[in-house]
């Protein structure tokens, strides 16, 4: 199996799908000739031409709105928003249009747009190149929200996303874009949306994460193991749909829960996971669940490491729930 980083895996998935399905077009700022500021679309315009790999004018609402129009008229657009922080000019098109097109038309129209966007901190990006805004999308009925952590998952989940009929917000952990390396099956395969992965089986505490936080959770698990703890780490891979079964099964086993979320604490997706566990497995809990999250502030530049959930903070949280 070839070794790839996440960018290469994304690029590979796009190439495979564009070769198979000429309804697929890629559009966004700087995605064409340049191949994207992170190079995820590198080489695609050369192979598929400027009509299918489109350098758009600089307007996110234009990118998403035209992608919606394309999807409604039979194409399979994959839009790139350069940073998740820049999805907001398109918020109305995403939330009021893309997410509701199928529903409001009584199923007459579908809107299979995949919106790819790099998210999260750790690259010294300050307020506006660091945001983790998955909670906004997860609260929006009609959107699927996929957040891979590894190159293998990125490729398989992106291929699956491009082949289903609903709009998907596909959030790529930019901090791990190059650092997240791994073996990736060559050629075509998909990974079903809504299936979590137990990335480290364990018995004592369930640590739930997704995207870059999966790495933080795994690093924490390693430290915890060295300290004699036995955590189970779950990588959710998509938060809508959510693999509630895997979560509950693990919680019933461990009785203890730590959720790691890079986004600000209040109203983040970790709260939803807690609410679901409360509803389904409260009686299994041996201790209050603990969230390790970004703070309720904008994302800072200099003090980014003090902001980001660290393996050390996750270890402390595990200790807290285990020693409760």
């Amino acid at each position: 199996m070839p070794t790839m980083n996440i960018i290469q895996a994304v690029n590979d998935a796009l190439q495979i799908q564009m070769r198979q399905d000429d309804r697929v077009v890629v559009l966004g700022e700087d995605v064409g000739k340049f191949g994207g500021v992170f190079r995820a679309t590198s080489g695609l315009q050369k192979e598929f031409g400027a009509e299918r790999v489109i350098d758009t004018p600089l307007a996110e609402t234009g990118i998403i709105a035209t992608a919606i129009g394309m999807a409604v008229n039979g194409l399979r657009p994959v839009a790139e928003i350069q940073f998740a922080d820049y999805m907001y000019p398109a918020f109305d098109q995403i939330v009021n249009e893309m997410a509701k097109f199928r529903y409001r038309s009584g199923g007459q129209y579908t809107c299979p747009v995949v919106v790819r966007t790099p998210y999260g901190g750790g690259i010294k990006g300050g307020h506006y190149h660091s945001q983790s805004n998955e909670a906004y999308w997860a609260h929006t009925s009609g959107l699927k929200v996929v957040i891979p952590a590894t190159p293998e998952d990125a490729k398989g989940l992106l291929l699956a996303s491009m082949r289903q009929d609903d709009p998907v917000i596909f959030m790529e952990p930019k901090r791990m874009y190059r650092a997240g390396k791994g073996e990736v099956p060559a050629g075509d395969y998909t990974i079903e949306l809504g299936k979590a992965k137990i990335v480290r089986p364990g018995s004592q505490v369930t640590v739930i994460a997704y995207g870059s936080m999966t790495y933080t959770a795994l690093e924490a698990a390693k430290k915890a193991e060295a300290m004699g703890m036995d955590p189970e780490v779950i990588d959710l891979r998509s938060i809508v749909p959510l693999d509630i079964e895997t979560i509950i099964k693990s919680v019933e086993k461990t009785g203890r829960v730590v959720i790691v979320q890079e986004a600000p604490k209040t109203g983040g997706f970790a709260a939803e996971i807690m609410a679901l566990i409360n509803e389904r497995a409260l009686m299994s809990l041996e201790a209050p669940m603990v969230r390790v999250t970004g703070w309720d502030t904008p994302f800072p530049y200099t003090l980014d490491l003090e902001y980001l959930p660290s393996a050390e903070r996750v270890v402390e949280a595990m200790q807290k729930v285990i020693n409760f």
Binding site: G62, T66, V72, N73, G74, R102, G106, D165, V240
Partner: protein
Amino acid sequence: MSLVDVKIGKVGPMTDAPYSVLNDDGSANVDRMPNIPREDLLKLYRAMVKTRAFDQRMITLQRQGRLGFYLGSTGEEAATVGSSYALRDSDWMLPCYREQGAYIWRGITLLEMANQCYGNGLDYTKGRQMPVHYSFRHKNIVSISSPLATQIPQAVGAAYAAKLRKEDTVFITYFGEGATSEGDFHVALNFAGVWKTPVIFFCRNNGWAISTPRELQTASETFAQKANAYGLEGVLVDGNDIFAVIEVTRRAAEKARNGGGATLIEAVTYRIGAHSTSDDPSGYRDEADVREWEKKDPIERFRRYLSKAGLWTQSFEDKLQEELKAEILAAVEAAENTPAPAPETIFEDVFSENPWHLEEQREELLTHLEGLKKEKH
């Protein structure tokens, strides 16, 4: 390539009057008369009258408490029917919410419209949206939403898809002059300029955005000249003149079909009625202005022409009104008496397939409703 002899934008200030063919007294500028088969003339008239009659009936029903909400198009029938006439049935429409005339010309039945307004079980959109938020896929009329201007850039994307597949479909998108102030209007025209997509941006300048007059909307002399900012052609047309609207839309469609890209049409008209049944314009506008505009009424103007041409007679009108009355009555009655969609339809069409959480919520609702039923017994 220039659309019509009234040019704007690139070629200078918009000082000329809107393009017009038909005068208020029903006489017409024969040099400009578009080629319209004689048998279509009364059909066009009929569509305009039908639009108005349906609108007025629905407004009355709302007042009587029999309908939740309605939004009429009185005074704008030439703009909607005329532009629709100029297109092929295979051309797409991405409407705003005041273009019932366009659908009626294309052959949408009053029953189809009434079913949507009543949000009943036969409404194609399953009672999901407020009245007049239609979606008629079988006639290439795309789902309407309330947020203003969102459909404008969507039209550019839909047109891009057709262009990519080398189809010759034209895409018309309608919006009010108020919607031109939104960012989505700007990005739409800008993308269309760069992409040269086959789009007609049809702006109904009816003078008002709810209570906001045109003067507070923009300091631009016209809306048509905004095309200039995107390398597009803009055309000003008398929106109450069915012939002028047909001619200008036809040329824009022809241009689009031949790879000439997009056109912005500003149809100058007037919102004779309230914004919607929720609105009362007496608080913000002078009724005298309305009376002035009523003199330019598009239906009466057209009727005068038809009368002069020997096509219209009072007995034709009487018959037409009677027919329409019956048709409307039948549609409304049928729609009113069609039961609402079943509760579980709430959970359809969120996604192509329901994830567990929606299945669970569906069960929760049905169990709850079951419980309520039992309680009542």
